[in-house]
Amino acid sequence: MIPELGHFALMLALGLALIQGTMPIVGTRTSDPVLMSIAAPAAIAQFVFVAMAFIALAVCYVTSDFSVLNVYENSNSQMPLIYRLTSIWGNHEGSMMLWIAILAFFGALVAAFGNNLPVVLKANALAVQAWIAAAFQLFILATSNPFVRIPDAPFEGRDLTPVLQDPGLAFHPPMLYLGYVGFSIAFSFAIAALIEGRIDAAWARWVRPWALLAWMCLTLGIAGGSYWAYYELGWGGFWFWDPVENASLMPWLAGTALLHSAVVMEKRGALKVWTILLAILTFSLSLIGTFLVRSGVLTSVHAFATDPTRGIFILGILIVFIGGALSLYAWRAPLLKQGGLFAPISREGALVFNNLFLTTACATVFVGTLYPLALEALTGDKISVGPPFFNATFGPLFIPLMAVMPFGPLMGWKRGDLVGAAQRLLAAMVLAGLAVVAASAIERGGPVLAPFGVGIAVFVMAGAVTDIAERTLVLRVPFRTALRRALGLPRSAWGTAFAHFGMGVTLLGIIGVTAWGSERIAEIKPGDHLDIAHYRFTFDGMFNRDGPNYHDAVGRFTVHRMNGELIGNMEPSRRTFPSRNMAITQAALMSRGVSQLYLSLGDPNKDGTVPVRLYFKPQVLMIWLGAAFMFVGGALSLSDRRLRIGAPRPAKAKPNPTLQAAE
């Protein structure tokens, strides 16, 4: 009964989405306020029905209703509740349900909280949002229905893929989707503005909080996925340049560019046409990401075999939305008015620089990710484009961006003072120079350029601190005055500083772990010891441990510092899932400050020896710590009074009592 209710709710949601997608547009064309006002309640009702469908699926999972094919294939009654819940989106059908649930959620948020929006813009934007929703709801109903029943219900489910039985699954896909799908709001607003043919600085102010929220979630989603892959896959890589990772990085790069260009548009009225294009591109890249993951056209660690009709369906959605949006853009964008002037050396100039490099870097990732597909379609040759390509293209484009980043916030609008900014950054530059010297002195081996990378990372961090120091005049005025100034700073200024600082932290982590990380692979037997960096690992032996739906063969290791001081134990394991008859590696991690020791086991040999991989990962935690800083920066900026209150509205003309009296 419950799956049928869910299925029915989904169909009703589709019906509502179709109404929401057409009536308001007719309303804006005929200036009919009643039709326009349908949009908001329809969006909320559509969300209610999508939520009902999602909850129905969740109930099937929680109660282990194996008469539902999707539950049978991906769940198991022995699994802990948390994994029975997360396995909802650990498969194709369920993850698409999550996708549309988040899409409808964002639509409902705009409908509920967009009271200060102009009526026409709101009606058009919600209508565009409904087209996207309708397309994906149709996709689910036609090709990926999660509510299909099995005639003879089995007693036990096939279990969730072991690699996905991890808390990471509870966090990473929902965050990533909040990011992907959150950019649909910016897209819908952009299309609405193009339909209306009118756009002003206030548009940027309405769109920015949504883009910012999506960006924050995407940042955490990518970082969470990276950390998950790092500890789960057993060899300690934090980024693989895997097509599906690239698919999430591309909207992040375009979305970061969008956030920055929207600032220019909001403050100075410039870059309108470009900002609209970025809003379209960012969500288009999210759609392409969905296509890459869901269609199975690319081989990746995320790929799963799917039936080709799904790929073609999503490709159709892709062509209609991206092609349609870009055509509309080409047709309507010339109508939009140009904005204010600025000198190349200015805050605007710096933000244009940022946009130029971010979008170009995004383009290189795009080419590297899709080139194998294009080549196979054209010549039949199968190739792989791996990390060397991205390191050789993305890296050189990102480094100048980082080096220029601290200058941006110190520049004035319209016309900036490069020499003045450089003078104020003198302390940061000196610090960066010292960091280069220190890194070359302390760390031996590793790439020659790595200390300079450290220098740039330190410069970025120190630059963010300089920005705040300059604004609060700390060290120059009495401390209490500086504190008062700090509290009085707009939150968005703090947001910028936090996010930029976080970028530096992440960069430092990436450089540290790639340049000076070390690795040992060996076969050992109980009593043996292995040395890495300044730590000694002694293998005490193997023992068994049972979990709810798995067995662990655990290796126990004692860790000492080289001077003999005991640090603790590490217990990596081989985890066997009887329901799927497969074993996976559970690595053991030990944090030492921001560095980590990483230990994983291979399949034990018959003679009792065990292959182990041992890694020393210097500064690795900074990679994800930086992302946390970026998230906090986004949150601070989001809580800025300016965005909370919204754009000022012209006062409504009050009826004049004296005139009425004279009537």
Binding site: A305, L341, A343, K382, A392, I521, E523, N581
Partner: protein, 157 residues
Amino acid sequence: MTRKQRRFTLIGCGLAVLAVAVALMLNAFRDSIVFFNSPSDVAEKHVEPGTRIRLGGLVKDGSLVRGNDLSIRFDVTDGKTEIPVAYRGVLPDLFREGQGVVAEGALDGGGVFNADTILAKHDETYMPKEVADALKKSGHWKDDYAQRAAMPVGGSK
């Protein structure tokens, strides 16, 4: 600065950065692209020793030999041709005899493929797409694989 000049500067800078990016990409494409080959492709195309390729097929049943110090040898087959592969390290969790595998490395002079990477896959029922295509081409595709591959497994990392 007039609007026209500003536009020229912007477009100029944009083109310059784009040119640099294109140069970087072309350069990287020359050095870092790896072609995928099945064992039959390797035999037919006479892949030069030392050229980095990806070799994909099935791990031949009974061919896995573990040597000292983590060295491993096994044969990759597509039903027609077999190529011996040598690897040193810890094999991925889902490496099995009879299962699909993708190895990256280069042939040595003696016809042995020295792999430095063996690709891990998420799921036991998952067949790498290239391997599936290669098997279909050599006529050794069994419906069993297709059936298993059609099951929606895997995830949304």
